[in-house]
């Protein structure tokens, strides 16, 4: 009786394994904004904020998204993930006034017209500005995504980073296209 049950359970386990393997094989390639979200999370690991950016050591790194949110659910994957003994918190803001308190600011393409205003606020405030709109880096955004052969790449405006008092790891710089203003 038990022997029979054992055989049945083994069979069920085997089927489950096969299905799960097939599912893994069919796993879809991550979407553009999923990659960008992962990149943003990883940027946090290669960038040093000035000491006065955080209230205390345990306070979280706040990532703000201003303008239309292009990430959708994919941004949730990095929410609450640990970075340098801190946690990454994702926040959506609508007004320029809310920029204060952000450590990372993703400037959506919809905010192109407000860019100078936004950059004026972020300048020297220790805020990593990220965009994914062509020309943003030239305008003073620190990191700007661009696509090349369907692959997500990024460019870095080192002067802007310097102005923002951010230290970017050479490892990161090595991977980026360096942009002047």
């Amino acid at each position: 009786m038990f022997k029979h049950l054992y055989k049945v359970s083994l069979f069920v386990f085997s089927i489950t394994l096969i299905i799960s393997l097939c599912a893994d094989a069919e796993q879809v390639k991550p979407g553009e904004y999923e990659v960008k979200a992962a990149f943003i999370y990883n940027f946090a690991k290669f960038i040093e904020w000035p000491d006065d950016s955080f209230l205390d050591k345990s306070s979280s790194i706040t990532m703000c998204v201003i303008g239309d949110d292009p990430f959708g659910r994919s941004i949730d994957s990095i929410h609450d993930k640990p970075v340098k003994e801190k946690k990454l918190k994702v926040k959506h803001i609508q007004s320029v006034k809310d920029i204060k308190g952000c450590h990372i600011l993703f400037i959506s393409g919809s905010e192109a017209k407000n860019l100078p205003q936004i950059l004026k606020i972020t300048e020297g405030a220790g805020i990593l500005t990220i965009g994914d709109t062509g020309g943003f880096a030239y305008s003073g955004v620190i990191i700007n995504f661009y696509l090349e052969q369907n692959k997500v790449n990024f460019e870095i405006n080192t002067k802007a980073a310097k102005r923002a008092r951010l230290q970017i790891s050479s490892k990161l710089l090595k991977l980026a296209r360096i942009v002047g203003e």
């Binding site: 990659v35 990149f39 990883n42 690991k45 290669f46 640990p82 970075v83 340098k84 692959k151 990024f154 790891s169 490892k171 990161l172 090595k174 991977l175």
Partner: protein, 568 residues
């Protein structure tokens, strides 16, 4: 088994047989330890090297992995070109997919990296495979793989082995060389001692010594002990030798005593014989006196005027003359002998009535021969007691005199001084010469001449001269040893043979004698001073000569001294 292996081998071989295996074992042990240590160190170095490289590359790949940039990771991997050991390398993603890879030799088949594993390494026969996680903020974001080839390790291993063998060979040669030297240090003194022992036992020469005792080790002590032993043997040898010599000396002494006793005995025997002969002669004489009185005696009587009144006819028997012939030419028959000068003096005294002791007269026989007469004169008194005539008895003592001379010649002793005479001296000296030759000794002959004996004789009479000779003999006896042979060999000539005396003592003997003479001269207070001229001659048994030659030499030297004195 080890003991049987060493049986019958020399110390040298034993030392080498013990030391060489120990040296080889020690060398192998040290060599093995060093090689093992080196290989472990090299292996650790290779591992450490690979780990460090994996860590650096991993660290440099964090961004590449984070931002999915395999090209950058491959560029990072190219840094391994500097590491000659790394032949393959690969970077895997967190999921285990190959992210980037590297191969040193591009001509080889494309490298298919193995499946990623947990951190660790394993050694293959000629490679080291190492996996190292790539960490970013305590999160494993990938894995790195490095494969290093162990060619260097193998060549090092080979090199170590070869150098180890060369080292061992060279060390063994050096060890053998040093051991040979070292064992010489030990075996040479032993060998020397053995040689010394052989030499000593062969030659019985105990005066040699071992020179090994300067060493501060056991061999030095051994050698010292050996030398001490030799010393003791030598000392005993010398004692034995000295005992032997003493014994020989004792025997020699006894021999001399015996010889002296023998001489004494001989002398006694001769004296006895002389006495016997004398006795015999006396008996004969008396017999003949009784039987042939006429042949030896004649009587005479003369008046106070000296004119013969009677002459017995036996004069013809005694001197060959007839009574007439003798009476007529009596004084013409006397010889030149000085004793005849006393005749008149004696006759005058007899005429004066003084009884004279017998005196001697020397007279010619009718046949030309010389006769010695002993004359006893007695004065003849009358009733009043005045001398009227002198009666004389003449006794022919020629034969007796001759016998006396003969006897004197036979004697070894000088009647006056009691010393040996020439004959005695020669007899004893020749005996002593043989003895000295046999014993390889030396002796000194001293020749002394009493100066101015004639002067003493003239000044103080013969008795004075005789006393001077007796004193000289006494001085010589006092000066020399009882065993020395002292003799008077002529009128004023004395000799002393100092036995067993070295040449160097000549001066001492002379000065001792002269000192004794001067003491005698001051002490005695005699009317004249004793003066001796002295010469010496050394008899060397190595250069023998006769007693006569020796006497001649000493005499010559004495004569030279006399000459010197007379010049002064």
């Amino acid at each position: 088994m080890i003991l049987t292996m060493f049986k019958g081998t020399s110390i040298k071989q034993k030392l080498i047989r013990i030391s060489m295996p120990a040296t080889i074992a020690a060398l192998f042990l040290i060599g093995s330890i060093l090689s093992t240590y080196n290989l472990i160190a090299l292996r650790n170095k290779i591992i450490q090297n690979a780990i460090i490289h994996a860590k650096i590359i991993g660290d440099n790949c964090t961004a590449s992995l984070s931002f999915n940039n395999p090209k950058d990771a491959e560029e990072t991997l190219l840094a391994l070109r500097e590491d000659l050991h790394a032949v393959y390398a690969a970077v895997y993603t967190k999921e285990g997919k190959i992210f980037a890879k590297y191969q040193r030799d591009k001509n080889k088949n494309e490298f298919a990296p193995p499946l990623p594993q947990d951190e660790g390494y394993h050694f293959g026969f000629n490679h080291l495979k190492l996996f190292q996680p790539v960490m970013l903020e305590n999160e494993r974001i990938g894995t790195i793989f490095i494969q290093a080839d162990l060619k260097e390790f193998h060549s090092s291993f080979l090199w170590l082995g070869v150098s180890f063998l060369i080292g061992i060979t060279v060390s063994l040669y050096i060890a053998f060389f040093l051991l040979s030297r070292l064992q010489q240090e030990i075996t040479n003194p032993i060998h020397d001692l053995t040689q010394l022992m052989h030499t000593i036992s062969k030659e019985k020469n105990y005066s040699v010594r071992s020179g090994v005792q300067q060493r501060q080790d056991e061999l030095g002590t051994l050698s010292e002990g050996f030398n001490e032993m030799l010393e003791q043997i030598q000392t005993r040898d010398m004692e034995l030798e000295s005992h032997r010599r003493n014994l020989e000396k004792l025997v020699d002494g006894r021999t001399v005593e015996l010889a002296t006793a023998n001489v004494q005995l001989e002398r006694d025997f001769i004296e006895l014989k002389q006495a016997e002969e004398a006795l015999k002669g006396s008996e004969e004489k008396f017999r003949r006196l009784v039987e042939n009185l006429r042949q030896e005696y004649f009587f005479y009587r003369h008046g106070t005027d000296g004119v013969f009144t009677y002459l017995s006819p036996s004069i013809t028997e005694v001197l060959g003359y007839s009574q007439e012939e003798f009476l007529k030419h009596y004084s013409e028959h006397l010889t030149d002998n000085p004793i005849n000068k006393q005749v008149e003096h004696h006759t005058n005294l007899s005429i004066q009535g003084i009884q004279q002791p017998p005196f001697e007269v020397e007279i010619y026989h009718k046949d030309g021969g010389i006769r010695r007469l002993e004359v006893t004169e007695s004065p003849v008194f009358d009733n009043k007691g005045s001398v009227v005539a002198v009666e004389g008895l003449a006794h022919d003592i020629t034969e007796r005199k001759r016998m006396e001379e003969e006897l004197k010649a036979l004697s070894l002793n000088d009647g006056l001084t009691g010393l040996y005479n020439r004959r005695g001296f020669i007899t004893l000296a020749e005996q002593q010469l043989k003895f000295t030759n046999r014993m390889k000794r030396g002796m000194v002959l001293l020749f002394a001449d009493l100066d101015d004996l004639k002067l003493i004789n003239d000044s103080f009479g013969h008795q004075g001269g005789d006393q001077a000779l007796i004193d000289t003999a006494y001085l010589l006896k006092n000066t020399f040893r009882g065993s020395d042979i002292i003799a008077r060999i002529g009128g004023d000539e004395f000799v002393v043979l100092a036995l067993d005396t070295h040449e160097t003592y000549c001066e001492v003997l002379i000065s001792r004698l002269k000192k004794n003479i001067s003491i005698h001269n001051t002490k005695e207070g005699r009317p004249y001073k004793l003066m001796l001229s002295v010469g010496t001659a050394y008899y060397d048994s190595g250069n023998p000569c006769s007693i006569e030659q020796l006497l001649e030499r000493a005499d010559k030297m004495m004569y030279e001294e006399k000459q010197r004195k007379s010049k002064i």
